[in-house]
Subunit: 124 residues, 2 copies
């Protein structure tokens, strides 16, 4: 994979997942980011905390992108205490592609069912 462009895994750390988070409390998005930060990412994958992916009604949310030739994907309805390993697996498969399109059957089931949107490559 050394010849493929690097991948960014963007995690919305502001997501409340429509819960009532008390002042100073840990938001679900922050907890998801922390879980992911505790995992080993595939080569070339960088985890980044971002603010609001505007998918608030279907959070928690991540976006993944990587270079001008790959599609960008947004995934939602993630649970901070359940989905970190699945996200690492799905992003690892994404990072192994040149265009960002992982064959349908190889995608984690959650990704198949909770793709919020995708954006074409910069060059298409």
């Amino acid at each position: 994979m050394a010849d493929l462009p690097p991948v960014e895994l963007l995690v919305c750390v502001k997501c409340r997942r429509e819960l009532d988070v008390p002042e100073g409390g840990t938001r679900p998005g922050e907890a998801l980011h922390a879980e992911l930060a505790n995992r080993t990412m595939s080569e070339g994958v960088t985890l980044k905390a971002v603010e609001c992916l505007s998918n608030c009604s279907s959070g928690c949310s991540v976006a993944v992108r990587g270079g001008a030739q790959r599609w960008t994907y947004v995934y939602g309805n993630l649970m901070e205490d359940r989905d970190a390993d699945m996200v690492v697996d799905g992003i690892s498969k994404y990072a192994a592609t040149a265009d960002g399109i992982v064959p349908w059957r190889e995608r984690p089931e959650h990704f198949r069912k909770n793709c919020i949107a995708r954006i074409p490559p910069q060059e298409f």
Copy 2:
């Protein structure tokens, strides 16, 4: 606006808007693209037809992006026979910004209520 990067307005022409479109019939996404193609875009804005933005349950859909410093936005629930002028207006305001963030009150109401997701700038 001559010093701002160009903007791409991407329209999903495959969208059926969950309707039963007969074989060979015009899909709602295609009709929306045709309506937009009949409008004059702001300077620097290019209309492009794309395939499936994976927002099928909330179509019709468009995405807008433009350069490494702007946020990318996906908007949904667009009606091909109603929303073309509003889209042109909203994209025009987007194209006038350096970061893609149009002040909330200046955004068309439909954009405020139907933002499906947004992706941070490439450089942030």
